[in-house]
Amino acid sequence: MKLAHVTWKELKHRRASLVSGLIAITLGIAVIVGIRAVTRASEYAVTVQLDSLGANVLVLPQGASVDEYHTADIDAPTFPEEYVETMVTSGLLGVENISPKLTRRTEVNGTSIVLTGVLPDSEVAKKPVWLMEGLVDGDGGGHVCKGRHGAAADPRLKRNIIEELDPGECLVGSAAAKRLGLEVGSVVTVKTAELEVIAINDPTGTVDDDRLFMHLHAMQDLLGIGKQLSVIEVMGCCSAISDGLLSKLRNILPDTRVTSISQIVSTQIETNRLMDRLSWGVLFIVLLVGGLSIGNYMWANVNQRRREIGIMRMLGAKRSSILGVLLAKALVLGVVGGLIGYGLGTIVVVGFGPDILGIEVEALPVWLGLSVLLATVVAVLGSLLPAWLASRFDPSANMQEV
């Protein structure tokens, strides 16, 4: 027989009262696990939607404003196309997609229109480093990023990805097509180039609707402005942006202006931060209450056990043995409370999440271990004082009773 056996037999002997000792910690862990799972799921949902709206970081020429980029005046500043290589080779984490663009206002059929040079996806894909999804930050930031390509995104919100675009071809935004009277198959003359319209883009409600897209390199040649860009649009993971992606980009490309499209990014970051802070706050309160409640239960328990603790002291038990027997019990309570709490919280949010909250909630397996760890630490801390006091009970106190 080991001393742990004494703990075990006592637990079984007073198992009915265990419910009251376990209830707070179990419910507490269940609430924490539930909130974490819901937070993660809603972060994911928010990010999927916001990311699909498009790029969230712009690399602009030094001194250029976002407005200038949008109006694309003839003398708007530019910067060399090599900057793309510089960015790619610097191995930044959290950059999901890079698209270099050149924009210039020009006249087509007597109408002023913004011409945009882009690289088609087929050419981007030749450089696989451009799709860097290696971002991992323990608590799941990685999968938030990957979610951009997930089926969950509303197709109407998806970015226009241009798969193929030859130098002699162009794409026309819906509003521009209307103004210029273009349709698929028409040929449009831009300066000295004849471009075949291969598609009219669906309306997006953005400036893109009023633009004409052609191959970047063909446009550079056509306008005779060399290997220059007006902007590099960057799709950064929102967690990477909050981790300082912008300042890293500024270090790599010192003579540019790196800016975030603030509405999108700040919504992403703020929403997620708020949820995060809320759930950590709840975690703190729940653990405090759980610890106090376990401590309260243990105090009642050791008082009920005064006699047997006295007997053990009479038989020569060290104070540390008494402490050990009692804290072993707290350990068991913590492990059991953590396991049940994790199961309960997970079942509730995964089972009822879609009905009540309208989002798909996934179980968080990391939290199985975390739940047990947290509950155990809380149970042991909460039991420390009662156990210590019990180890100092006067052993002669119940010896005189009959």
């Binding site: 027989m1 056996h5 004494v6 053990m312 002291r313 020569g316 060290k318 104070r319 005189q400 009959v402």
Partner: protein, 227 residues
């Protein structure tokens, strides 16, 4: 001399009134002795026993165990002393309610760090010796009063003590059962040479011993433990 006290005093100072439960008590218990302590209720018998076990701190005087003073030992050292040298048999049996007879007898060995392989066989031998070989897996509440007290006696022997301290071991037993328990203690004392200090109310029980001490109002009025 196994255990000796000189000028032993114990004053309870709880509340306003101080009670001198023991005053100038000198006892001498030889190796293998069977000493009985008698006296009216409140005369200090239990107090003496608890003081000799280090469960109460004396207010005055000295306690010597095999010639060594022990009254100044730390709590931890007293606990080690009890594990090693003392066994206890109390009026209320003092068994741990959720441990079986076997586990109760193993408990002092577990606390003393006896090699774990030896604990159970030894506990079985001891329970056989008190004629409870067929009740080893029973909980205290599944045993009669006499059987519970015999479990307590087996437990008192677990670490082969030099001295068993017994406080009214027959106080809660019918006369017939009381005689059984007394006979058992007598047998252990004679066969193993384990010294016994037994507090009792009953003059009949007091006759079992080889020496007597009589207390009144905290003072010894006759005997000192030697025959």
């Amino acid at each position: 001399m196994l255990l000796a006290t000189r000028g032993l005093g114990k004053r309870y100072a709880r509340g306003r009134v101080a009670v001198d439960a023991l005053q100038d008590v000198g006892v001498d218990i030889e190796e293998g002795a069977f000493v009985t302590v008698t006296g009216p209720s409140g005369s200090g018998k239990t107090t003496l026993l608890l003081t000799l076990a280090g469960l109460l701190r004396p207010s005055a005087g000295e306690i010597h165990f095999r010639g060594e003073p022990v009254q100044e030992l730390s709590d931890a050292a007293w606990a080690a002393f009890r594990r090693k040298h003392l066994g206890f048999v109390m009026q209320n049996f003092s068994l741990v309610p959720y441990l079986t007879a076997l586990e109760n007898v193993m408990l002092p060995m577990t606390l003393a760090g006896t090699p774990s392989a030896e604990r159970e066989p030894r506990a079985r031998v001891l329970l056989d010796r008190v004629e409870l070989g067929d009740r080893m897996e029973h909980l205290p509440r599944e045993l009669s009063a006499g059987q519970q007290q015999r479990v307590a006696i087996a437990r008192a022997l677990a670490n082969n003590p030099a001295l068993i301290l017994a406080d009214e071991p027959t106080g809660n037993l019918d006369p017939a059962l009381a005689d059984d328990v007394l006979a058992l203690l007598k047998k252990l004392n004679e066969e193993d040479g384990t010294a016994i200090l037994m507090v009792t109310h009953s003059p009949r029980a007091a006759e079992v011993g080889t020496a007597r001490i009589h207390l009144e109002a905290g003072r010894i009025v006759s005997g000192n433990g030697t025959a």
